[in-house]
Symmetry: C2
Subunit: 426 residues, 2 copies
């Protein structure tokens, strides 16, 4: 049996995924190129020996709650509760680190944050008229998840301070007027991927009002909030949420390590059925979870659980070294851009106050063809911002990532990029 | 914010999942009831201490292939290859145990077999006219997965020997005549869940011919093949497949343990794109996988990888004790049915040659209401076969599972069931 590729689901031809595959291919062909494209966390924080210790800490924790040895074994090795077994530890950590106060039952543990997005989208969008809004440029994992499910994503243009709440209202109104139902709004309030942009506190407050007004559930994704240049207040939307307008999508990929593939969602919204029975949205969504992956590997959950217990429920304090590292890297990236491009009015860039990404605007088209040239002839890789727009946009902008490298390589990468830029604009 | 339950996705109201939730609820309310409903593997084979050893074995294996210590650490803890890192070990095990000869690139490691089903369904069904066929009664994980994706499942009635290949042809033709495209056929050839039925070798051969004729990809799910009463030949369809007509869906939930949540799919079909570039279907499906869960937890993969390495790539030999256990259990279940119901012509049951399940036909309606009565007044739980039919069927049949208990409890359960039956038919 053989297929024509066109016969397979559109998702298999996801343009964003194709772009990411392209980047990986180019990276593989030019292994000596400095990658300012890779957004993964730095490798140096991880040692596999730690896994055993975390497993042990979690098992001891279970034993300390009164579980017998065989009950502990079952917890790790048998089928488990659909919504996971470390929801209580996650709820406790959210309270300590973020001031988010939710019951353990509002937490669903997922196979990474990607699955949390799929579950949120599937649960909220019941019919073909249901769409979601997303700030654009948008993380491709979110648009890709929606494409897998056949759910339309309607872009809301990003503003310099993250989002213009009035733009949200306007887009939601337009969507309704066209006969569709806007069900949610995807936002990354801290150091967004790809733009690096963050929302001021007053924008967050206003966004919550707008969401309640427009009956939009905010899907808040916050993988980078820990990694700020300054310890300024960056309250999560969920911490500010008084009306259950926010579903929080959580990741441990940066705060623990990606290999656990453990994420979570917090959905404390009340759901009422025809007979008046009340439950939490997270509990209702367990039906979706059970049909996607049954439950998240309890072994992987145990590893993350061990990290949470060992950190005394504060990833913020457990991550001080990582936070310092990423701060230093972002400073190095911004300083290198300054050194390389200062005084050239054709070149502009934003200066995120933390996170993994910054955006450089260039006076020429920065597309896949140029990435290839850049890798081959200049030894530097980066991501075209065009990848993050569904219907055009970002053609003359570059996403630069500073998470996976150490400062000397970041500086070398920016120098190489400078050479490319000068050759292009001459 | 608050929702009416009806506004959420239909999948959240999945009837099969609701039924399973109901069963779990009843089980929780009557903890002393003997459960002939639970299809999970027996607990006694699992010790959490083993996890550390398996991790160590896998890390040593990686080191033996030449990976440095930090490369081993990265493999376990960083983002990884979308299709997984133990595909080579799985391919080797399939060759040893099943005579399935496929390249490692044809294997995708998934977050349990459930995710493999979702990925297969999504990859194959590109438009609203694309449907899949499934033998009915059907495992609810498959129909539930299709429902999450909005894909229609068209039933093909099960026969006493598993499947009438001509019925497949007829249903496929009817589907085509109605303007839809049948893309795949889901079957469990060995000891199917829920019916316990297996296909004779000649039916398997004929089914492969029929599939090629009808251009149907067979989705072969085989979680129970290892656990036969006799060591008769039970070649997988994939082992017999000469035309790449079969995608094999694999689970380690029974052969290793459920807590790993590691499954896989084998898709060695060639896909050709517009420019003539050829790839394997498993590689193309990586786009779907990446948008569902990015990649399967490499920690969980490492645990399973350690099991495969330690078993010298033979789960068949590693599982001798389990196979003996489940054989003894199935014999105990069938003997108990014989003892309890022999001579009563109103009661019939099938006699599967292995696996976890048998079906008892009863002369009354065996529905949810009766499950509740059975648990409360008779102390025994079972599964209505009606749960496994989409459009009616199985109303007077009961699925009995023998996997999670030891023989004395199985016998006690059947005795209690006998009391219920006698009270009903008097």
């Amino acid at each position: 049996m053989q297929w024509r590729r066109e016969e397979l689901h559109v998702a298999v031809r996801d343009p964003a995924a194709a772009s990411m595959n392209f980047l990986n291919e180019v990276a593989a062909r030019f292994p000596d190129a400095v990658s300012l494209a890779a957004g993964r966390p730095y490798d140096g924080f991880y040692v596999a020996d730690d896994i055993e210790r975390y497993l042990r800490v979690y098992r001891d924790h279970l034993a300390s709650t009164g579980l017998s040895g065989s009950a502990v074994d079952r917890t790790l090795l048998q089928y488990g509760r659909t919504n996971g077994v470390i929801g209580d530890l996650i709820a406790r950590t959210l309270a300590v680190d973020e001031g988010i106060d939710v019951p353990a039952e509002a937490v669903m543990v997922t196979a990474g944050c990607q699955e949390a997005m799929i579950i949120a989208l599937r649960g909220l969008c019941a019919g073909p008229e249901d769409v979601v809004l997303a700030v654009e440029p948008c993380y491709v994992g979110f648009t890709g998840a929606a494409r897998i499910l056949g759910i339309e994503v309607v872009p809301v243009p990003e503003a310099a301070d993250g989002l213009d709440p009035d733009a949200v209202l306007r887009v939601a109104r337009e969507v309704r007027e066209s006969g569709r139902r806007p069900r949610g709004l995807y936002v990354v309030p801290n150091f967004a991927n790809p733009s690096g942009v963050s929302m001021p506190v007053e924008v967050r407050q206003r966004l919550l009002e707008v969401a309640a007004e427009a009956e939009l559930l905010i899907l808040e994704d916050d993988p980078y909030g820990l990694f700020g240049l300054e310890d300024e207040p960056r309250p999560t939307l969920k911490a500010l949420d008084r009306e259950q307008s926010v579903m929080y999508l959580g990741s441990f990929a940066k705060s623990v390590f990606p290999g656990a593939r453990v994420g979570f969602l917090v959905a404390d919204q009340v759901v009422v059925d025809g007979s008046g029975r009340r439950s939490l949205l997270a509990e209702e969504l367990s039906t979706v979870k059970s049909m996607l992956t049954v439950n998240t590997s309890p072994i992987a959950q145990a590893v993350v659980g061990g990290v949470l217990v060992e950190s005394q429920y504060s990833l913020r304090s457990a991550n001080r070294a990582k936070t310092e590292f990423y701060r230093r890297n972002m400073r190095a990236l911004l300083a290198a851009l300054e050194l390389e491009f200062e005084g050239d009015s054709r070149m502009t860039w934003n200066t995120p106050n933390g996170g993994f990404f910054a955006v450089l605007n260039v006076p020429f088209t920065a597309d896949e063809a140029l990435v290839e040239v850049s890798a081959r002839d200049y030894g530097v890789l980066w991501t075209p911002m065009g990848f993050f727009y569904a219907g055009g946009g970002g053609e003359r902008a570059i996403r630069l990532s500073c998470s996976a490298l150490e400062p000397p390589r970041i500086e070398e990468g920016v120098r190489r990029l400078g050479k490319l830029v000068r050759d292009r604009v001459l």
